[in-house]
Amino acid sequence: MKDVIVYVEHRGGQTRKVTFEMATQARALADALGGKAHAVILGGGAQRLAAQLAAYPIDIVHVSEDSDVDAFLLDPVVDYVAAVAGSTGPALLLVPNTLSGRDVAGRLSARLKAGLAADVTEFHVENGAVACTAPKMGGALVTTCTIRPADYGIATVRPNAFEAQTGGAGAQVEAIEKPAGKQYVAKIERDVEEGAGELALEEAPVVVAGGRGLGGPEPFDTMLKPLARALGGAVGASRAAADAGWVPYSLQIGQTGKTVTPNLYIGIGISGAIQHKVGMRSAGTIVAINKDGSAAIGEFSDLLVVGDAFAIVPELTKLLESANASS
């Protein structure tokens, strides 16, 4: 395993932020392994996105604007990435740990007979082998595993776990040849973007999450969104709030929702059930607002403010907005 290949995920004309985090890791890993850092960008806009990536330390960006990539479900993506991997020989592939990234990684692991490490938050190279650190069992354990160096390896990378550092010498851009003789069947009939332009929950540096304590859908719009905006973050929720239909399931944090690792998590009207905790326990700083001083969330919060969310949140937003305005 020498070369490192970053799979670039993009939606709505924008590269996901985790790409730049992976590119930075790819450089360090390629240097330690004595190989090159590659990136693969596919589909409409690939050329333009490749230019954006030039600010990061990648050696070769492989691109294809093949319209099949956007027309069919992932099969063309898997073929193209496998073709790049085929040209480098046993390499380490970095794929974002997102809904579609997990599909790509799983497909590629069987195709390339690769070892797979999931939800990686730290990499080391020891004697030519890549060691991956990842939280397991909802973060109750932190494990380190190594991938057999003679084989291909795939790591799904947790968004927000690594820093992104610019500093590229300008990558070489290469076109990938269309894999021959492919007939794709899983045609995407309709593709609807809902939260277009909004910061993805897993990638937000700040998460403001609301729970049953908010009593209905309105406070998510009138209280949580303005607070999230003032902090440059995104809104999340507990399952109770999603189950009640107050917010879409895509905002749910926890065992059966998303795992987030923001610098700051603020839980508002959330009791801190274990199934919620496993989705946010790795946040840098945890703040809770709860009217019950004995709520479980207090047991793992850096700050618990005991009081009424409806009184506190608007005041807090005002303080932050005026601080933002004067800075």
Binding site: V78, A105, G138, A186, D191, I289, D302, V305, I312, L316
Partner: protein, 247 residues
């Protein structure tokens, strides 16, 4: 169920613990049962791989309404990673045969989320994930699937692999009749000898080895502030964020 790793082998301890269907798999089963109701004459078979004790989990699936169950178990499978898990399961699944294979999105222990894609690749079937709605008409599967930023509709010919999102529908409870019926059913057993495996499985075939594990840094109770009113609560948080350079 409490989950832990064995300090010696560093494998997930899968014996001697109470096992449950993992939440995503309950949703997958619910989807299968709903689709069966709309396709008279079809049957639902549940399949799993794991140590002997896990067999009882399949009985819960039978109680919920599955028609048949097949269980792949073999000491040689201990210590499987994604590669060997998918390889062994795909061989068992081709032997069982299927029109539609419904898989959970994510386990709550290994949590790689990579098994469904890997299975689809081994089985050479289309892979449609995160379905919130699915219909079968004339041997075709049409799906409305959730994406990170919205949803898509996709239509593929069977056989295919499908994974379900939690929005597909709440898993039903087992009825008393279901529970009684499940007790009488036999669960078919497979071992690695029944599979045409050309590569080693279990720890011997795994490409990933766990080297070490530890609990995460402890996270205790931090500062607690009783807010006299909204302004006081807001000020406490604002000061705290300033101190931490987060605002």
């Amino acid at each position: 169920a409490e989950k832990r790793l064995d300090p010696q082998t560093k494998h997930l301890v899968r014996t001697g613990v109470e096992t449950v269907l993992n939440p995503y798999d309950e949703y997958a089963l619910e989807a299968a049962l709903q689709l069966r109701e709309r396709a008279p004459g079809s049957t639902v078979t549940v399949f799993s791989m794991g140590p002997e004790a896990l067999k009882e989990t399949l009985r819960k699936a039978l109680a919920m309404g599955a028609d048949e169950a097949v269980f792949l178990s073999d000491p040689a499978l201990a210590g499987s990673d994604v590669w060997t898990t998918s390889l062994a399961m795909s061989r068992a699944l081709s032997k069982i045969g299927f029109d539609l294979l419904i898989v959970g999105g994510l386990t709550d222990d290994g949590s790689t989320g990579a098994v469904p894609g890997s299975l689809a690749e081994h089985l050479q079937v289309p892979c449609v994930t995160n379905a919130r709605k699915a219909e079968i008409t004339d041997n075709r599967l049409s799906v409305e699937r959730e994406t990170d930023t919205g949803y898509q509709t996709v239509d593929v010919a069977l056989p295919a692999l499908l994974t379900t999102a939690l929005t597909f529908g709440e898993p039903r409870y087992a009825s008393l009749k279901g529970i009684m019926g499940a007790k009488k059913k036999t669960i078919a057993a497979l071992s690695t000898a029944d599979l045409a495996l050309e590569a080693p499985v279990g720890a011997a075939g795994s490409k990933v080895a766990i080297e070490s594990f530890a609990p995460p840094p402890a996270r205790g109770r931090g500062r607690v502030v009783e807010a006299a009113d909204g302004a006081a609560g807001a000020a406490a948080i604002f000061e705290f964020l300033r101190e931490k350079r987060l605002a």
